[in-house]
């Protein structure tokens, strides 16, 4: 059972200090006590609104930033304790594709240099670098003529494909995709998503797919975690999440989602009432973080934090509605 787990995250926390007044120090609790597992070969979706900490979560898992507390085990090893060669090996195996293709590619490097930077750093033995890069470019639908061009000569969709080729160059096992299509038009988005799915089939990649767009996450993921203010409120398979959402926040997200079919949207009469805006992640609300906007909030929710429980098989939720004290 535990063999097919690639990544295990335990009680992960990341606080960013902010100084409000001279003496007081507050923290943005971007990720606050998150526990989950990612299985080998699956796509694990993370969905949440802006400021929910989903990007920070992706970065901490790759150790691009150091955590405040908690552990992340990659193939059984604690990545925050890795050093030297082992750390380098982890860096090769775990890659990231960033949200904004306009700022994730160095404008002063050619595509050839951008893609070769990783393999050179990791000392990979490549006989013919040019052929190697061309073969990668072909995989993402670009050609040899693009080899010595600069990033500004490409459209947003092409840049994102270059970023994907760069991630592929190191032969990784795990890729964090942080909103890879949110800067792109829908027709281009479809192309990138299909490409990512094809690569997963071909190379058996494990993905962590981060997005604010629930329809895209649903399309890409096997399992989905819903995050709210730095905490996971619900984890289950993507079909189950849409058919039987448990957490009030998930239900609200689903009912707020515009469905591209007028026949369905006009029939949908009962809408979950959505009130208020997400509170600040600096000093977030006590108890359940969602109680300020929750239509079912009970007195207990205001002071006691709910725990993650397995309410139905493989369907985890953190809400007092589903937990007995």
């Amino acid at each position: 059972m535990s063999d097919d787990v690639l990544i295990k995250v335990e009680n992960l926390k990341k606080y960013f200090p902010v100084r409000r007044f001279i003496f007081s120090k507050d923290y943005v609790k971007a990720v606050d006590g998150v526990t989950f597992e990612i299985k080998k070969g699956e796509t694990f979706g993370v969905v949440g609104e802006s400021g929910s900490g989903k990007t920070t979560l992706g970065r901490v898992i790759l150790r691009l930033i150091e955590p405040t507390d908690g552990h992340v085990y990659f193939e059984g090893e604690d990545i925050f304790k890795l050093k030297g060669k082992k750390l380098l090996e982890f860096r090769r195996k775990a890659q990231m594709v960033f949200q904004d293709p306009f700022s994730s590619l160095d404008p002063r490097m050619t595509i050839f240099q951008i893609i070769m930077e990783g393999p050179i750093t990791h000392g990979m033995k490549i006989d013919d670098p040019e052929e190697f890069v061309v073969s990668l470019l072909r995989k993402v639908g670009l050609e040899r003529v693009h080899l010595h061009r600069y990033p500004h000569e490409f459209s947003g969709g092409q840049k994102q494909r270059i970023a994907i080729a760069r991630a592929l160059s190191l032969n990784p096992e795990f890729i964090v995709l942080d909103e890879p299509t949110s800067a792109l038009d829908v027709s281009v988005q479809a192309q990138i998503l299909e490409m990512l799915r094809d690569f997963q089939r071909e190379f058996k990649f494990t993905y962590m797919f981060i997005s604010h767009d629930l329809s895209v996450v649903k399309y890409m993921s096997d399992r989905i975690a819903v995050v709210y203010l730095g905490q996971i409120v619900e984890i289950t398979s993507s079909d189950e999440l849409f058919e039987r959402p448990l957490h009030p926040y998930t239900r609200i997200l689903l009912s707020a989602l515009p469905i591209p079919d007028p026949e369905i949207t006009r029939k949908k009469k009962i809408k979950e009432e959505i009130v208020g805006e997400p509170p600040s992640p600096i000093n977030p609300p006590l108890g359940c973080r969602f109680h300020t906007r929750c239509p079912y909030a009970m007195p207990k929710c205001r002071y006691k934090e709910p725990h993650m429980v397995e309410y139905e098989p493989k369907h985890y939720v953190a809400c007092w509605l589903y937990e007995k004290d």
Binding site: V186, A190, L257, P258, P260, P262, E263
Partner: protein, 343 residues
């Protein structure tokens, strides 16, 4: 044909160009459509298709290097016909913001950071009404209450930076509504906000429209928003309108290959999709737009005529128009229907 369509705005052969160093960008060419009184009319398309330019040109909100080359924008006011493109600036100023109001995409760019939000609402009220400042402030507070801002008495004293994105967009909506306009042109009003806030804002727009009977022109790239809000939809591609129909027709019975492609590229979370289909190729450069149909470079059905001649406007059925050679001949049309039925 005896039924008279109750139009409130009509755009005829509108042409806008931008004179840049890279060349003349033909942002929109020969765009024609009309908007019915009281409806929600959606202009939908991808980045750079000209939907924002079209909406701004309607009240001449195009500044250099842009220029409205030709066309007419007819505003029907109580039986009166006014061409907004020929109206003197002072006259237009009376209509703009009063009878035709705008909501822009980025609320932090449309609010002045140096003035309180309340003052900015007051400003738009006083500009068009004979009202004392005191009365206007009172009305401003009412407007903020109308757009569901909690504690409006205190919020009018806030500056834009003290508010969240959703709140700021509510302020912008209240400014647009403050003079009870006949038409609201909303340009991607919910693009920068989260889905829960988007649902709140769309809900608000819907309720206000029902209450005041305002006509709404909604510009968006999000097909989900279109499905939820629109009565009629115009799809734009590379500076041209390519299809106009009711929202049900567009989603159920799209005619233009681009509209079909667009709908297949959008993931619908309620349906099991095996594969998303993307549209191959890229959007053409509008300095040198392709001759003939502008979509022919990416169209799977492109024929020789598409490359040579601009497609005519074809009526599929009542109020469903498409600009495509596939439908230009009746015989051809039947052929396609048969083919699609087979596949």
């Amino acid at each position: 044909m005896s039924e008279e369509v109750d139009k409130i705005l009509e755009v005829k052969n509108l042409d806008v160009r931008f004179y840049t160093y890279a060349g003349v960008v033909k942002a929109i060419s020969n765009v024609s459509f009309y908007v019915k009184r009281g409806e929600v009319f959606c202009l939908v398309g991808e980045t750079g298709c000209g939907k924002t330019v079209a909406s701004r040109a309607m009240t001449r909100l195009i500044s250099a290097p842009g220029k409205i080359e030709k066309g007419e924008v007819i505003y029907y006011r109580d039986g009166e016909k006014i061409n907004l493109l020929e109206l003197p600036e002072e006259e237009l100023n009376k209509i703009r913001g009063f009878e035709i109001a705008y909501i822009f995409q980025d609320p932090s760019a449309s609010l002045d950071p140096l003035y309180t939000t309340g003052y900015q609402v007051v400003e738009s009220i006083v500009a068009h009404n004979d009202m004392s400042m005191k009365e206007a402030w009172k009305k401003a507070i009412d407007m903020l209450r109308l757009v569901l801002i909690p504690d409006p008495e205190a919020r009018v004293k806030n500056y834009p930076h003290e508010m969240s994105g959703g709140m700021k967009q509510r302020i912008v909506i209240s400014i647009a509504l403050s003079n009870n306009p006949k038409v609201i042109i909303a340009d991607e009003p919910t693009t920068n906000v989260d889905v829960t806030i988007q649902a709140q804002l769309l809900d608000l727009l819907r309720k206000l429209r029902e209450k005041y009977g305002t006509t709404v022109i909604l510009i968006t790239h999000n097909m989900g928003v279109v499905a939820e809000m629109a009565d009629r939809v115009a799809v734009m591609y590379a500076g041209k309108i390519i299809e106009v129909a009711s929202v049900f027709e567009i989603f159920k019975n799209p005619a233009h290959p681009y509209t079909k492609g667009l709908l297949k590229a959008v993931p619908n979370p309620l349906i099991k999709i095996e594969k998303l289909v993307h549209i191959p190729g890229t959007v053409p450069n509008l300095v040198f737009p392709p001759p003939g149909c502008r979509f022919h470079t990416r169209c799977p059905y492109a024929k020789d005529i598409c490359k040579a001649k601009e497609p005519p406007k074809v009526e599929i059925n009542k109020e469903h128009y498409v600009y495509c050679w596939l439908y230009a001949e009746k015989e051809k049309k039947k052929e396609i229907v048969v083919k699609e039925a087979k596949s």
